[in-house]
């Protein structure tokens, strides 16, 4: 791929990603009153994150699915106790690493 092609691709990627974020953000100024739309907008971030997490997380580590499931379960358990994102993320990673290491024995 030459540089010209790279920059055309980059422009399409960056341009479309930027506009789809910024245009709705800048244009919608009024408070939405409709309870259905309000509820929908309230639920959407959680349903997006949930659909992104499962089942993709099980295959994200490129290793054992069981180890990834253990990591995910550890993250769920810890997040019942704390809201701290870093603590939960580190716990998940450590659990995967330990599970992979144990299985390799």
């Amino acid at each position: 791929m030459n540089n010209r092609e790279f920059f055309i691709y980059l422009l399409i990627m960056a341009g479309s990603t930027y506009l789809i974020r910024a245009i709705p953000f800048a244009l919608i100024r009024k408070k939405i009153k409709n309870p259905f739309i309000k509820s929908f907008l309230y639920y959407i971030p959680y349903t997006v994150l949930a659909a992104m997490t499962f089942p993709s997380a099980l295959y994200a580590t490129g290793g054992s699915v069981t180890a990834a499931a253990i990591g995910l379960a550890a993250a769920i358990l810890v997040s019942l106790k704390t809201k701290n994102l870093t603590v939960v993320a580190v716990t998940g990673c450590v659990a995967v690493f330990l599970a992979e290491s144990l299985m390799a024995l």
Binding site: M13, T17, R21, A26, T61, C93, F97
Partner: protein, 241 residues
């Protein structure tokens, strides 16, 4: 020391963004390795991260780039994968303080990622300075992680790399689970989204669909059902804590 309120909310945002930044560092590290392994140069990999700031979109975009001349395909796949950001932008537009408008939204809208949005939306009212602060660490983490991954790809052992890939998902869990504890019906709605997502992944008839599109479909269907059967009545319920 006298603290300017804008600086204070900026630094409060910076602190809230640090865990996201750490999560991004590990995720974009993998993306940097991947980009270079697919034939991109280090500067190209980093530049892509700096101007797009999106995990799923970049992953798909890098694959598309490997074949010349697929401009239309690039546009369509990027729009499909990233359409969820529109919903997030609309959602957050309801929570900004009065000074956060016009040009500020046009500029700062660039930083609307899943995680920045998720953390910002737990605020009662989002100010410009808080949002900018919140975006700082994730942006640095995303660009820096891509650079590190592109430069020193296979320095870390494979098992460590693999474990780091779970970080971003654990972070998603940490955003969802505490909210479900506070609000049981949300668990049901999230369950629907997870179930649909599993169907898309495991059913042979559906698993040809790109992950960006399937996430969009699952999330919209589950949220529509949620809004239909469990409309939010009380404004107070939306507040965190």
């Amino acid at each position: 020391m006298r603290a300017d309120p804008m600086m204070r909310s900026y630094f409060r945002g910076v602190r809230a963004g640090v865990p996201i930044g750490l999560g991004y560092l590990s995720v974009s590290f993998g993306l940097g390795i991947l980009a270079v392994s697919m034939g991109l140069s280090v500067w190209q990999a980093v530049l892509i991260s700096m101007v797009t700031l999106t995990s799923a979109g970049q992953l798909s975009g890098i694959h598309t780039m490997c074949v010349p001349g697929q401009y239309m395909e690039m546009l369509v796949s990027q729009l499909t994968i990233n359409v969820r950001y529109s919903f997030m932008s609309i959602c957050l537009s309801q929570k900004t303080d009065p000074a956060f408008k016009g040009i500020y939204r046009l500029l700062l809208g660039f930083f609307m990622t899943d995680e920045i949005f998720a953390v910002a939306s737990t605020e009662k009212s989002v100010s410009r300075s808080y949002f900018l602060g919140l975006a700082a660490a994730p942006y640095i983490g995303w660009a820096g992680g891509t650079l590190l991954g592109a430069l020193l790809g296979d320095v870390l052992p494979e098992r460590v790399m693999g474990a780091l890939c779970l970080a971003i998902y654990a972070m998603f869990v940490a955003i969802i689970v505490p909210q479900i504890r506070a609000e049981k019906t949300l668990g049901l709605i999230v369950g629907v989204s997870v179930l649909l997502s599993a169907l898309f992944y495991y059913l042979p008839a559906l698993n040809g669909i790109s992950s960006g599109l399937s996430v969009t479909v699952c999330a919209i269907v589950a949220a529509v059902l949620g809004a239909w059967f469990f409309p939010k009545k009380d404004e107070e319920e939306e507040a965190d804590e």
